[in-house]
């Protein structure tokens, strides 16, 4: 199937699912909705999206053949998710330090001192500006609960 048809099919599937979700919205009496309920506008928009996606599938059915997604994109995506998993365990700042050094290494930087220096400086800068400067409360973690 061409990339445009794949995209159109995905858009229709998402729009139909979101349209279906409007049937679970809380129902309000006519006196409050005044003929235009909370579901009306999302349905109008999603209906428009479905029509446009169907048009895309038939008006531009071809679309370029897409190259494979390079493995590095998967590794990078996994590292983003690993960072999110690490935050509740180590806390945000240690997770940032590990992420900065880890992704830099994954992307091919082999000067360890530079990776550690970059990770250390940036983590300290974020702590100084946000935690000390703006008073941002970082999320609590399992290892460092306070």
């Amino acid at each position: 199937m061409s990339s445009n048809r794949v995209a159109a099919a995905a858009v229709v599937a998402i729009a139909v699912a979101l349209f279906a979700a409007t049937f679970w919205f809380e129902q309000m009496p006519e006196g409050i909705t005044r003929g235009f309920g909370a579901e009306a506008f999302p349905r109008l928009v999603l209906g428009t999206i479905v029509v446009l996606a169907v048009l895309l599938a038939f008006v531009s059915p071809t679309g370029e053949a897409l190259p494979r997604i390079p493995p590095m994109v998967y590794y990078t995506s996994a590292s983003l998710l690993a960072f999110m998993a690490l935050v509740p365990v180590t806390g945000m700042l240690p997770a940032m330090f590990l992420f900065l050094a880890g992704l830099g290494y994954l992307w091919g930087e082999r000067r360890h001192w530079l990776l550690l220096l970059n990770a250390g400086l940036l983590t300290v800068a974020i702590w100084a500006v946000f935690v000390k400067g703006f008073g941002v409360q970082l999320p609590h973690s399992f290892l460092f609960p306070s």
Partner: protein, 491 residues
């Protein structure tokens, strides 16, 4: 006039001066970094503007917007890799000039043309925006609804090449704006039990995800590409002969850029491309173009900076963004509790004139900084990707987290990073989505208000000539390209 003078006087405030200076330097630096555009930067730095207050925040974002377009030309000329998409046309002749050993001359002309184009458009902004606002002041909900729909129709031509894909992305952005509590009934929509979604989806994490995190994943897929870096001689002022040779190109392109910038959803990149073509068309040295013509640098640079001021006209006067970055600036104003539109000119004239004067200052600053420090800024492009992009992610995380101090917002940013990656892969531009998200609430609110005025009778719009004119323009813009194709006999 008093408000204008008061706005100019704000430039004497050291805090404003500092944020404009910082915004200009940051704008030039990030503009010079390939992959990080002005829109990515404004999205990334938007959370940091929240504690600043409205005037410094908008002055800061405006300065970044002005300077990033110029910064993009540095790497376009030196590395043949435009730091900002709007500098793509600059590379056509700027890079050949650098290869010939004229990098300094090209950078000097870029700074001069950018500053002239930028200042020209801010002057137009100062004159045109209040006039447009005066016309719009008589608008009611039906006219605003028609205007918002017209703005949305313009997304068809923004971003990617496919009009249908742009419209789908724009409509998806409008749908995103429906997340949260319905204003009329109080019913929660698509919140899925997540408390922070009740007040609607936050602009900041969506913008950070769509721009910064999507670009991180894009960079991950292009790690092996390396550019050849031209040697940079001293940056020098263009000679009087150069200025004379380019003056026609600069003024023509400044006018083109300002006009294109004013049109909703057409931005600096389009302006620069059209200006390049027109500069070549009206030049006596057509044969030099593509081989290192200095006019080929002056034209696009004047136009892409002129588009900045132009794009601010509908943004401030009507609340309709003229480009992706102005959509983000609009989000910045909304976050500050300021709703752009004609009433701004009567209610908060000081804020507006502060924006105008800070943009003027930013244009002068990057002329000075561009001529003095281009060589230093150019070195920024040599920061290795394995150090730069993980840092962008970490800043994205803290940027998404800090405003509400909620990890849910970081998840939203990451989710939109993935969504943006797949959108780009399948040819959907994120720009229409952002414009749809910004305009979505206005579309729904004004539609509801209009239908209440018309007693739920859609034909009520027929009695509103301005609204009908705007609907007519919407149809014309959407169907015009198809009709033109038919008239020319193409399939």
């Amino acid at each position: 006039m008093e408000a204008f003078l008061a706005g100019m006087a704000l430039l004497l405030d050291p805090k404003i001066l500092l944020v404009v200076f910082a915004g200009t330097v940051i704008g030039i630096i990030v503009g010079a970094l390939p992959g990080i555009s002005g829109s990515t930067t404004t999205a990334l730095l938007l959370p940091f503007t929240i504690p600043m207050g409205p005037v410094p925040a908008i002055a800061f974002l405006g300065a970044i917007y002005c300077a990033a377009n110029f910064g993009g030309s540095i790497t376009a000329i030196l590395v043949n890799s435009p730091g900002d998409p709007s500098a793509s046309a600059t590379a056509f002749d700027g890079y050949p000039m650098a290869v010939k050993g004229e990098a300094g001359r090209a950078l000097g002309m870029s700074a001069v043309a950018s500053a002239i184009g930028g200042i020209f458009s801010v002057v137009v902004l100062i004159i045109a925006a209040p006039l447009l606002a005066r016309v719009a002041y008589s608008f009611g909900p039906p006219e605003y609804f028609a205007l918002a729909v017209f703005g949305l129709s313009m997304v068809a031509m923004s971003g990617g090449d496919s009009m249908l894909k742009n419209l789908i992305a724009g409509a998806f952005g409008v749908w995103l704006a429906t997340i949260g509590r319905d204003l009329t009934t109080g019913v929660e929509r698509y919140t899925f039990g997540i408390h922070s979604f009740s007040d609607g989806i936050e602009f900041i994490p969506v913008l950070i995800g769509l721009f910064a995190l999507t670009e991180l994943l894009e960079q991950a897929s292009q790690l092996r590409n390396k550019a050849w870096v031209a040697k940079l001689g001293a940056v020098r002022l263009p000679s009087w002969d150069d200025v004379r040779k380019c003056s026609k190109a600069i003024w023509l392109s400044s006018a083109i850029g300002t006009f294109i910038g004013i049109l909703p959803a057409l931005g600096a990149t389009t302006a620069a491309m059209i200006a390049y073509v027109e500069t070549k068309r009206w030049s006596k040295n057509k044969a030099e173009f593509g081989k290192g013509a200095i006019e080929g640098v002056a034209g696009p640079e004047a136009a892409n900076n002129a588009a900045v001021g132009g794009a601010m006209v509908p943004t401030l006067a009507l609340g309709i963004p003229g480009s992706t970055t102005t959509a983000i600036i609009l989000a910045g104003l909304i976050v500050q509790g300021v709703r752009p539109g004609p009433h701004l000119f009567t209610e908060q004239p000081l804020l507006l004139y502060a924006v105008f004067s800070s943009m003027l200052l930013a244009n002068l600053l990057y002329l000075v900084l561009g001529l003095g420090f281009a060589k230093v800024f150019a070195r920024i492009s040599l920061v290795p990707a394995p150090l730069l992009w993980p840092a962008v992610f970490v800043l994205s995380v803290i940027g998404a987290y800090a405003p509400n101090q909620a990890m849910a917002e970081v998840w939203v940013a990451i989710a939109f990073g993935f969504i943006g990656f797949f959108m780009r892969r399948y040819g959907f531009s994120p720009a229409p989505l952002v414009i749809g998200l910004v305009l979505g609430r206005m579309v729904e609110e004004t539609l509801k208000q209009s239908l209440l005025i018309f007693d739920l009778n859609w034909s009520g719009f027929l009695g509103r000539p301005i609204a009908m004119t705007l609907f007519g323009l919407t149809v014309l813009f959407l169907l015009g390209p198809f009709l033109l194709q038919r008239l020319r006999g193409r399939p």
